[in-house]
Symmetry: C2
Subunit: 143 residues, 2 copies
C-alpha cells in the first residue's frame, strides 16, 4: 500500500507536529530518527523531499533541524503520500491498465474506482491537526 519511506515520512511528520505544538524550534533529524527508531541516513533522504515540496522548513547548523512549513491543519496524509510515493494509489487502475476509465473500464473498474475515491477522500481529509487531537485524547498510542 505505502512504501516504507512513506510510512517513515508520516511517522516523522506526526512526531514533528506533536513536538511543535509546544515549542516552535527546529527539531533535529537525529532526534526524530532516535525517537522513532529509524535510520538517520534514510530519514534524512526522505525528509529532503518534504522540504522540497514545501511541507517542511529546514535549517542547518547548531540547533538546526526541520519544522512544519504550514499550519498542521493544512498538511494532510495525502500531501505526504503524494510527496513521497506519488498518487498512483489514488488514481491508478487496480489491474494496471493505463487507459482504464469509466468509458473504457477494466473488469473490476466499477468495484475499484469508488473505493479508490474513498481512500483519496480519507487521506485528504486526515490532517496532522486531526491526528494530533486524536493522540491527545488517547494514551498508549504508538508513534
Amino acid at each position: 500500500m505505502l512504501t516504507t519511506a512513506c510510512k517513515d515520512a508520516i511517522r516523522a511528520m506526526i512526531y514533528i507536529a506533536k513536538k511543535q505544538k509546544n515549542i516552535d524550534n527546529f527539531i533535529s533529524i537525529k532526534e526524530i530518527a532516535n525517537n522513532l527508531d529509524l535510520s538517520f541516513y534514510f530519514l534524512s533522504k526522505i525528509l529532503q523531499k518534504l522540504v522540497k515540496d514545501g511541507f517542511l522548513e529546514s535549517y542547518r547548523g547548531p540547533n538546526g533541524g526541520v519544522k512544519l512549513a504550514k499550519p498542521m491543519g493544512d498538511i494532510s496524509l495525502y500531501d505526504i503520500i503524494l510527496s513521497i510515493d506519488g498518487d498512483d494509489v489514488f488514481t491508478q487502475c487496480i489491474l494496471g491498465f493505463k487507459e482504464c476509465s469509466d468509458i473504457k473500464p477494466c473488469a473490476v473498474h466499477e468495484k475499484w474506482a469508488p473505493e479508490r475515491e474513498r481512500l483519496y477522500n480519507l487521506f485528504k481529509d486526515t490532517t496532522l491537526e486531526e491526528i494530533e487531537e486524536e493522540i491527545e485524547k488517547k494514551i498508549n498510542i504508538k508513534l
Copy 2:
C-alpha cells in the same frame, strides 16, 4: 497496492473463467499470455502458485494447460491476492507497526482499520462469477 505479478494473476484468472464458461478444456498458458500481452515465462511462474494453492488445475502435454479447480463463484479476488501477494494489505498497520491493534493502536489506526476491513470485504465478496456477469453485461471491457 498490488504487485504486477498479482495484477497479471487476476487478469489471467478472469480470462480463464471467461473462456471456461463456454468450453471446459484446459487452456494453454501460451494462449493466455498472448491474449493478455504478458510474458509467457513470467505468467507461467505466477500461475504455478495458483495451481499449488488449489485454484487452478494443470495438465501437461499436447492440449494441456490450466483450468479452474473450483466453481467460479468460489474463487474471489481475495483468494488470488492472498495466493500471490499475501494478505498484508488487508491485515497490516498502514504505518508498518507489527503490534498495532485496537488495544495498542498507531496514530491513524482508527482511520485505517475500518478501511482495511472494507477492502477485505470488497475483495472477498468479488468472485470470478460476479466479474464474468459484469463483463457479459457490458461491451468495451479491457481484459
